[in-house]
Amino acid sequence: MVKAWIRGSATELDTAIAEAAKLLAASRMPVIAGLGTDVAGIRAAIALAQRIGGIIDHMHSAALLRDLDVMRESGMMVTTPNETRLRADLLLLVGSGLTEAWPELPARLFGDANRRIVWLCPGGAAAQARALQNVSIIGDDTADLPILLAALRARCAGRPVAKTPLAAKELDALAGDLAKARFGVAVWSAAEHDELTIEMLCGLVKDLNDNTRFSGLPLAPPDNAGGAQQVSGWMTGFPMRTGFARGYWEHDPWRFDATRLVESGEADCALWISAYGAHSPDWKRKLPLIALGADPDRKRSEVAIAVGLPRIDHPAVEYLTATGTLGAVEARQPTNRISVADAVTMISAALPEAPPC
């Protein structure tokens, strides 16, 4: 059973698809945003963006781009959750949002009693941190993190530091522990850190490799953000916030920020995709909105189509945090609810002109 609405009134799927195609065809600058969907949905959305000269942006682009900015400015050393689980003799956990980013983290990484854990600034996760064995908790407030990391990196490189939130002795002991690790892994979630903090952490990891082995494990944001980044990477050559408005792909994190495009009035139509949950766009300005979602906002949308939940209603390929790869997942309770990929492909087929070569 398909559920579709036009301006709040229930309608047939085909009618909703035709209306969505009409809105997109009439648009001079459409944005395809949210992009909380499986790999098939993202592939279809990017193909549609190419067809209509649209812009693609993911609801968690900001966090994705913080890690990516560090990578493409100065580089990064990273490893997989599996290698971390098997090999890490020291885990450097950074910040308070790790188990939020990866709920299975304790089950996957905390089991090994020989594994030393250093938790920097656990903040709200302090109680969880204290319950662990073999753990050192350093700092509390994440506001201290930038200076702590900078001091730690300086001491690891044998450079002097001025006053830090940590006693000099404690700081040196910690630097010594990192240097003694045989295969240490730093774990962080870009959702809670700015670029400079991440860059300092990644720089520390790189420095440590001059003598020992150390790597990083960045945790991807939810809603298949990691998958969206990969698909966009191969289909366009760029990450999120990329557009085909001029007939070729261009990437600009500011120019192609969907919220900015809508608020500034540059965008005149939006296709919002949120198949994993009821996320709504965070822009305030009103514009013709087509919503594909698990529970789409039918009041706010010109066209709303209820889609299936990837890996519940239909099989899906998505970024798996447990392996750090794209994986194919079977449907848990298959239904005939339409997938984002099918809905977007139908919209594309309902557009007036034939697709160019």
Partner: protein, 545 residues
């Protein structure tokens, strides 16, 4: 529908043909000249060269490491545009899957092999391959730094066990063949080993690199895989590493073995800087070792990004990155390293590398055993191929290039003394007939009846590079896809795979192993056909019996 390509010079070494004549196409295949039958469509190709579609056996076009490269080096798109002086800048470069397919097709390539697919990342590699239009593709599955194999070898398990594991991995990852990359080196690097050679042991396993290569070579041979074990040797890029390459060639011991991007191992320690071309010596060894095949990995000048699952080598090269950024990825088995690099004609070392590659092309004497690659994008992006063809076919052009390079670099190579020029039949052998044979693609790489109608037509031009850059006509499965270097139809090809026989008990053993070691069900690494998102995405290649 019957299509006729009329009056071209048909160069088809697989069928000993080099003569002016016609080619007929029906239902996507090449057919005999039908008596009295009128063609529905005729293309006048008089004065043009007609060859089978070209096949690239080693080009990193798809997978997590490539996309990591795209994300690390968004600026490379612009750099690719200026690879060719006089080339009209393209708004989009070769840096996404769609452009990759279009640019390959425009040069008359119809099949390309992605040579480094990590089993745990196979699904992404195949999704990326599926988004490369027009051309057919294949994946080589990487083994040799994986715990399971190293354990088999440490435990001195039977050759049968290795064979079953190789067969299972190929089936799971949908590979056409097996590649080994610095055998054991990536695993050793996780234990902080910083240099690793053919007779070094992987810490914790006590297994030497050589034993890994030999075990895989034997398994590949006994399984009847058409493509021999594809080897990325130890010590890539280091002065004096010709010894490693020579030792690896000797280790073939008369069984088939393919050595990838040999140019990167053609270095001696002679000359004022302790770095010289040893390509002449290496070419001699290749000529003598009849069971060995090689591809060159030619270097060309300009900005590129090196992408390799030789994590150790990439880590050791990190401080030479141009620009100064890199990603080093310790994967479940091999992982990868992405290090941007700009090869410069006025750089002594880069000039020696360029010359060494050309020496290998020109001093090896059997175009059936020497393959045309740049190890894209490691020696150069594949968009540089046309210029390399021109250099191989024209010694005057080589001389011109050499005058722009450091004299002391040219003095530690033999390039200036080489007069050979590749002929058209040699080019056709090296890029069509021989690759099809090496990969077991019986209906590709030739223009005989029954062959798939993958055909490239080139208009003769004094500028040979231009000729190769913009094929006059390209047919894929009998359909016209390129005219005058422009894509006129975007079709989608398939990925070749093999499915050798294996004991079914291996499945249960793998399930237990993944459960014990990783605490994961096997399914996370599966590549279901339905997940690829294109109809009929695979084509099975038979194994030798």
């Amino acid at each position: 529908m019957l299509t006729r390509l009329a009056g071209g010079r048909v160069i088809d070494p697989a069928n000993n043909r080099d003569a002016v004549g016609d080619i007929f196409i029906r239902d996507g295949r090449i057919v005999e000249a039908p008596p009295g039958d009128q063609a529905d469509e005729t293309h006048d190709v008089a004065g043009k060269i007609v060859m089978a579609g070209a096949i690239d056996i080693h080009s990193h076009i798809a997978g997590g490491n490539e996309t990591l490269g795209r994300l690390l080096m968004p600026e490379l798109r612009n750099a690719l545009d200026v690879v060719h002086p006089g080339h009209v800048p393209q708004p989009a470069g070769a840096w996404n899957t769609f452009e990759t397919g279009h640019l390959y097709a425009a040069m008359g390539f119809t099949t390309v092999v992605e040579p480094a697919v990590l089993p745990h990342n196979a699904l992404q590699s195949h999704l990326e391959l599926a988004d490369i239009p027009i051309i057919d593709k294949a994946a080589l599955t990487v083994l040799g730094n994986d715990d399971f194999l190293l354990n088999l070898l440490r435990g001195k398990e039977s050759a049968d066990a290795v064979r079953d594991y190789v067969a299972w991995t190929l089936a799971t990852s949908r590979g056409l063949g097996i590649k080994v990359i610095n055998a054991g080196g990536a695993a050793a690097f996780k234990d902080n080993v910083r240099s690793f050679s053919l007779d070094d042991e992987v810490p914790g396993y006590g297994v030497p690199s050589r034993a890994i290569v030999k075990a895989l070579q034997r398994a590949v041979h006994e399984l009847g895989l058409p493509h021999p074990l594809h080897v990325h040797c130890n010590n890539l890029g280091l002065a004096g590493n010709v010894e490693t390459a020579l030792a690896t060639i000797a280790a073939a011991e008369g069984l088939p073995l393919h050595l990838a991007h040999l140019q990167f191992y053609a270095y001696g320690k002679e000359g004022p800087r302790g770095f010289s071309s040893a390509a002449a010596r290496l070419a001699e060894a290749v000529n003598a070792a009849k069971s060995v095949t090689v591809d060159v990995g030619q270097v060309m000048f300009g900005q590129t990004v090196t992408i390799s699952s030789d994590v150790l080598r990439q880590f050791n090269a990190r401080k030479q990155a141009r620009p100064k950024k890199y990603v080093i990825f310790d994967g479940d088995s091999n992982g990868g390293g992405i290090v941007p690099y700009e090869y410069r004609a006025n750089d002594f070392y880069n000039a020696v590398q360029w010359a060494a590659g050309l020496e290998l092309f020109l001093l090896t004497n059997d175009p059936w055993r020497v393959f045309f690659t740049t190890d894209h994008p490691n020696g150069a992006p594949f968009t540089a191929y046309p210029d390399i063809f021109a250099l191989l076919m024209d010694r005057e052009l080589r001389t011109q290039w050499m005058t722009t390079m450091p004299k002391e670099a040219m003095e530690v190579t033999t390039l200036a003394s080489i007069t050979r020029e590749y002929t058209w039949p040699e080019i056709a052998t090296m890029t069509r007939a021989a690759p099809a044979k090496l990969l077991g693609l019986k209906d590709r790489g030739h223009l005989g009846p029954g062959g798939v109608a993958d055909i490239a037509v080139y208009a003769l031009d004094r500028d040979k590079a231009k000729m190769f850059r913009e094929a006059a006509l390209v047919f894929k499965n009998g359909e016209l896809v390129v005219r005058d270097g422009k894509v006129v139809r975007q079709s989608f090809g398939r990925a070749f795979d093999v499915r050798p026989q294996a004991e079914r008990a291996i499945e249960r053993r793998m399930r237990d192993y993944y459960d014990q070691r990783y605490g994961l069900p096997l399914d996370f690494m599966s590549v279901p056909e339905a997940a690829i998102g294109r109809p009929d995405p695979f084509e099975r290649v038979p194994c030798n019996t």
